[in-house]
């Protein structure tokens, strides 16, 4: 790919101190997002995928590593980032019920980013808010209503509208539809895909839903206990998964059609559970659940290699040559 990189994450670490020890929520993660691209980050709870998104947004600063956005270093908390950059980088949170202030009207919520960045002449804010509402297909009279009265789909549309208000170039989508029903999810996803084309957006799409990922992302990375264990272009990723964890996940995805069933790799039955963040297994953190476990797996952390072109994997089954 020769396209321009909009976001580059290198060696990112985020550790949290707790009373019982250090939680390595993100442990040496590197990836990049190209212009107009959607990169998917998949993982189960505790994999650290949301933390990656939050560190990129600066909700908390990284413990180590660098984040470069449009050529600028943003390895810091949001409070210390230049205002101009804040405008270009936005997020849609998982649960719109908690990401929209229940005591502020939809109009006020949409107006805030406009006001902070002075994006309209005084007196024109209402008009801009109405335009935003047309865009997210909400009736204009909803401007004076509170989010609590709306359905999940409408709420998430407002959250998307708020993210779009500053005309960003990059949006972190942190499980934007996992709180929604499928019939609503479809609507929101289509809205997001349309806006991507319309506004030249790049997405970091975080989800636990592999089927959804297949339909939205150009590249997919899979996370397990704070590390990216496999990353590849979407078609390659789904037709030729390498890491045993990827295969286990794919085997476990509930599907509807026969075609989907056929796509699943050789069946790897899911066993065991993701380890607690405080006692991550030594070596490859997946080894206690891995059907192909070898001696080396419990001793040496596998490093990420480019096994095939643009297909990265971190597993001792695929030694670097």
């Amino acid at each position: 790919m020769s396209a321009e990189e909009i976001l580059t994450v290198k060696g990112l670490k985020k550790y949290f101190k707790t009373t019982r020890g250090i939680v390595k929520a993100v442990d040496d993660v590197s990836f990049s997002v190209m212009k107009n691209e959607t990169v998917g980050l998949v993982g189960e709870s505790g994999s650290g995928k949301s933390t990656v998104g939050h560190v990129v947004m600066g909700i908390y600063g990284p413990t180590a590593g660098s984040i470069t956005f449009m050529g600028n270093d943003i390895s810091m908390g949001v409070g210390r980032r230049p205002k101009e950059l804040k405008k270009r980088l936005q997020i849609v949170f998982q649960d719109p019920a908690s990401s929209l202030n229940p005591r502020r009207t939809i109009g006020q919520i949409l107006e805030l980013p406009l006001r902070v960045h002075h994006l309209a002449p005084e007196g024109k804010y209402a008009e801009r808010v109405f335009e935003m509402m047309d865009l997210i297909e909400l009736p204009r009279e909803f401007a004076v209503r509170y989010p609590g009265e709306q359905g999940g789909g409408e709420k998430q549309a407002v959250a998307i509208g708020r993210a779009l208000a500053t005309r960003p170039s990059f949006i972190v989508l942190d499980e934007p539809t996992s709180a929604l029903d499928v019939s609503i999810q479809a609507k929101i996803i289509n809205m997001l895909m349309r806006f991507q084309k319309e506004f030249d957006l790049s997405y970091l799409f975080i989800t636990h839903n592999l089927s959804l990922m297949r339909n939205v992302a150009q590249r997919v990375g899979i996370m397990y206990l704070g590390k990216i264990v496999e990353m590849a272009g979407t078609p390659e990723f789904f037709s030729n998964p390498l890491h045993p964890y990827t295969k286990m996940l794919l085997s476990a995805v509930p599907v509807i059609t026969r075609e989907e069933e056929a796509l699943k790799p050789e069946k790897i039955t899911s066993t065991g559970e993701i380890a607690g963040a405080l006692n991550v297994p030594p070596g490859c953190s997946f080894h206690p659940r891995c059907p192909f476990v070898m001696d080396i797996c419990s001793k040496v952390v596998p490093s990420q290699i480019e096994y095939k072109k643009e297909h990265y994997v971190a597993c001792h089954l695929y030694p670097s040559t």
């Binding site: 949001v78 997020i91 929209l100 502020r104 980013p113 902070v116 808010v129 004076v144 609590g148 009265e149």
Partner: protein, 290 residues
């Protein structure tokens, strides 16, 4: 005008519906309004306004309740009912003065401590509040009053001095949990200032509990005021204060029971009124149940 499009309308009908669906709240509102009405127009609605403060008529002293004096007369021949109605003035004034002095600083301190949760500001504010809360409120109020000259005004000041931490603690607990909510993070990402986040994002979510507590506290402040004057550390005779009246009459128990019992029952009525009203206010701010 410029924000007319985005401000939420306060939906009076819906709020009233939520408030009044529990009929006892309406009873509470009625009691509070009645007490307020009587207090404001005390000079017009009472039969013997001159009995309110200094007045002596020994021939009519200690009369049990009768048609001329529904609640009887006290040891100086003053009409107990008249004095109770005038007593409402002091009670309500106490509540109004204390709450208006206490709520704003208490709330702001709680918001600031909650926003800077875990930092030095939080430490300083909340530790100080904890020290004030380490002793029962009545005891602290009594001890502050005891070093001052007893009067209604000093009682108000004493109660105000020790009441703010309750609001700080209440608001702190809400604010510090909201601090991590996605909507606060979203505002930070949008680039909003701490001022905006504290007062526009967090504060509106504390209003329900604050108003509920204010309503309930109105009753408790009145009670503390009455307790102070009951002991003799608040309002002084001949001020018609409910607490003073109870303590004066208590010396004449059990024979001349009406002198103390009626003011005492009135205190109960006022507190009950504010308690019921407070429940209604809480319902008004509760989320939809559907």
């Amino acid at each position: 005008m410029r924000r007319a499009t985005s401000h939420g309308r306060f939906d009076y009908r819906k709020s009233w519906h939520k408030f009044s669906r529990n009929y006892v709240s309406v009873v509470g509102l009625g009691v509070v309004l009645l007490v307020a009405f009587l207090a404001i127009f005390a000079s017009y609605v009472t039969l013997y306004p001159s009995h309110a403060e200094f007045y002596v008529n020994f021939p009519e002293a200690r009369e049990p309740p009768n048609w001329a004096h529904l609640f009887g007369t006290d040891q100086f021949g003053r009409d107990v009912l008249t004095r109770i109605v005038f007593g409402f003035r002091y009670s309500l004034m106490m509540a109004i003065v204390v709450l208006s002095l206490v709520v704003a600083p208490g709330v702001v301190l709680g918001l600031v401590a909650g926003y800077y949760r875990g930092g030095k500001v939080d430490m300083a504010i909340m530790r100080t509040a904890d020290i004030f809360l380490a002793v029962p409120p009545l005891v602290l109020a009594l001890s502050i009053c005891s070093v001052l000259t007893p009067s209604v005004f000093n009682a108000m000041m004493a109660v105000s001095l020790m009441w703010w931490p309750w609001y700080t603690r209440l608001v702190y607990s809400i604010a510090s949990s909201l601090r991590n909510e996605a909507f606060v993070q979203a505002a930070e990402i949008a680039g909003a200032s701490p001022f905006h986040i504290i007062f526009r994002e967090i504060l509106p979510n504390c209003l329900g509990p604050i108003l509920t507590k204010m309503t309930l506290d109105a009753g408790w402040v009145i009670l503390i005021g009455a307790s102070l004057s009951f002991v003799g550390l608040g309002a002084q005779p001949p001020t018609p204060d409910l607490g003073t009246m109870v303590s004066d009459g208590a010396k004449l128990l059990p024979e001349q029971w009406w002198i103390s019992i009626f003011p005492a029952l009135t205190i109960v009525l006022v507190i009950l009124g504010f308690n019921l009203l407070g429940d209604g206010v809480r319902d008004m701010f509760s989320a939809e149940t559907v």
